[in-house]
């Protein structure tokens, strides 16, 4: 899809296309920053100290395949782990926003 088309779709579908661009960006950045913390925590938390060192070694090589292999071997269902964390995040966010707006 052409760049401009993707860009327009995102902004429109966000439902914030009438807001100033800075506001649009703030919402996305806020959400992603929060989920970034969760993802980082949940992935690294699932590894032992020894495994975290191994992860550093794997990432040092610059080989994405090795990093992938590392996660597959050491974090059972790691994509699912993230999927669940994101799902939990979304659920928590929806609940919190509902609560804030309903207060």
């Amino acid at each position: 899809m052409p760049t401009q088309s993707i860009q327009q779709d995102i902004i429109k579908e966000l439902g914030i296309d009438e807001l100033p661009p800075a506001k649009q960006e703030e919402v996305l950045a806020a959400m992603t920053e929060a989920v970034l913390k969760r993802i980082t925590l949940v992935l690294l938390e699932s590894l032992s100290e020894e495994k975290r060192n191994e992860l550093e070694e794997a990432s040092k090589t610059g080989d994405a395949g090795k990093v992938n292999e590392f996660f597959v071997a050491n974090v059972p269902n790691y994509e699912k782990l993230i999927q669940n964390e994101v799902a939990k995040f979304k659920q928590d966010m929806a609940q919190t926003v509902d609560m804030l707006l309903a207060a």
């Binding site: 439902g15 950045a29 959400m31 929060a34 980082t40 395949g65 059972p76 929806a94 926003v97 509902d98």
Partner: protein, 648 residues
Amino acid sequence: MLNLNKRCWRTPPVLAFNFYLKTMAEELPKHIQSAEELGYDPGVIKPEDFNKKGLAEKLVEIEEWKDIEPQERARRGESAVAGSPEALRGPSRASVAPERVETPTNLEIARREFIDVWSQDQQAGKASGKLAKLKGFFSLGEKRVQKKEEIAAATLEKGQAEESLAVKQKDWAKAFKEKQKNLLEGKKQELVGSGKTQEEIDKLVNEYAKELVAEAAKEAALVDGLKSDKQIEEMGAWRKGLNEKVGNFMDWYKKLPLKGRMAVSAGLLTVGAAGALAGGVPGAMVMSAAFAGQAGLRVLGGALTAGGLEQLMKGAQQRSAEKRIVKEFGDKSSEALEEDSKLEEKMVGLAQAKKGDKAKRFILAGTAGALVGSGALGYAIRNVADWIKGPSMGTPVASSEQPGIAKAAAEKLPIGERGPGGAIIDYFKANPEAAKKFGWDGQADINKWSGAKAHNLWLEHSGQALKNPETLAELKKLGYSANAEGYAKMMHRIGEGFVELNPKSGMNLADMDYLKAYFGDADKVIEEVKKSGEITGDALKKLVTENVKPELFKDGDYLALKDKVSLETLLKDFPESVTDNKYGLANKWHGFGGQEAFSGDRYGNMTYNGAQKLSALAKFARQLVDKKLVPSEDMAKTVGQFFEKYGK
């Protein structure tokens, strides 16, 4: 700040440099002393610190520490050493804090108190949970009484913490609402004084109200981030490594400009996004590059696994180091640097040699790069982006017809150990406001109502699903009848999946993964082997291969156990009472305190879904054993060895 004599910079470079070192050595104790008065902890200063490298490091450290606002230091209650993640990390002010004021606002106070109480509630929950899990082991005499008392105390504490949490959450929401109300009122007043008609004012206020939805979303994200911060803070010393990694990563992330943060979080650096980050391309373009797709992330992310990110950070740190030099010596340094390029190199080199910079760069690049390389973070962010742009969050303030985040709630719930119905019931019980959208009157017992509603939603869904050719094909593949009963039975084989809930369209199942698809149909294998007349290893291997999907051998839970657990052990850990009773596994899981029942060396940190898979595998093995299709000696083999012999 060093009070260097301007004269020294006009002398020949080498002499000037020596004089600079001497002056720094004289000035350093004064710097440390003044910083100590503000709460700085210099740690142990060794004699070898008083060389050019050590002096530069220490000065830079003190200046960095001073850069952290006193108010922020006081808020954290720490005398942190500059440069440490603890010192640099704070709430996500850069991107999500609405504003910064000298005196904390009511909202900031309420938010902080809520986080503190939330943390206490978490701690109380853990304590209560741990004791509850132990209760079964203390059944006699004084120990039992003592343990009961401890459990009662922990339960009471948990109850009190929950009450406090509810109060503080309410206060926080009220403070947020109050702030938004004031903003809206201020906007109205501003418009009233502008000479506009009431209709124009209403229209403008309505538009402005949309921004309040955005504010609520930002507030929710901010508090979620603060909760994560709190979790990091409260980790024990043994988690220091994790603490540092997360802290460094987030510190780096927060220091990026907005467009940089968006690039990182929206796709964590495709090449396009990385280029945009370095070149200062507008945020929207960064976003479009970041949405290029998972395949792009995987391929391009590899190039950035360590090197790409490190280069970016190195550049940023070098600029930061240069700034520190300028700050340290003011105009005098500029003058001197113009006079002698070698001196410039030395100065920049000194600042860059700051202990930890290299390590920090590596850690950041390593952690972030690892996540990029795996595609995992990209996957997560893509999901969040999909969600934000979809109709999944928030209730409208001004209009129920607003698109995107302002649309009415439609949820995607992960299916847990209690199946789709349990996921729906739990969701309604935890979200009364959402329950109202599905018809709860706010009066009836929500526990009973949730159960009945979940049942009705299921019946409606089941009727529709059985008209779907894909569902019928799945039922056939897994050996279930193509009717409501068969469909309900198939639910007990859910490995992973989601319930989609929508007030208008009801429920649907999405992204389903049924366990039998992994482990094949043991009955079918047995039946086929019987038909063959003679049971041979080869025949069994052929049929197992045909009926067990190769995905099994790539599954994380399988890989974690394959070399550790024998078939005998598996059957012992997952007896028939667990595998043949449809609630058996759930009962065992909860009866022994959840995960602990199956954790330890053999299974690691297994999830319930992992246990479901192992349970299915154990049942499969049991049937083969019962029919004497597997020689008894093979039961001592590990699961991996078994499948090597009979199916891989």
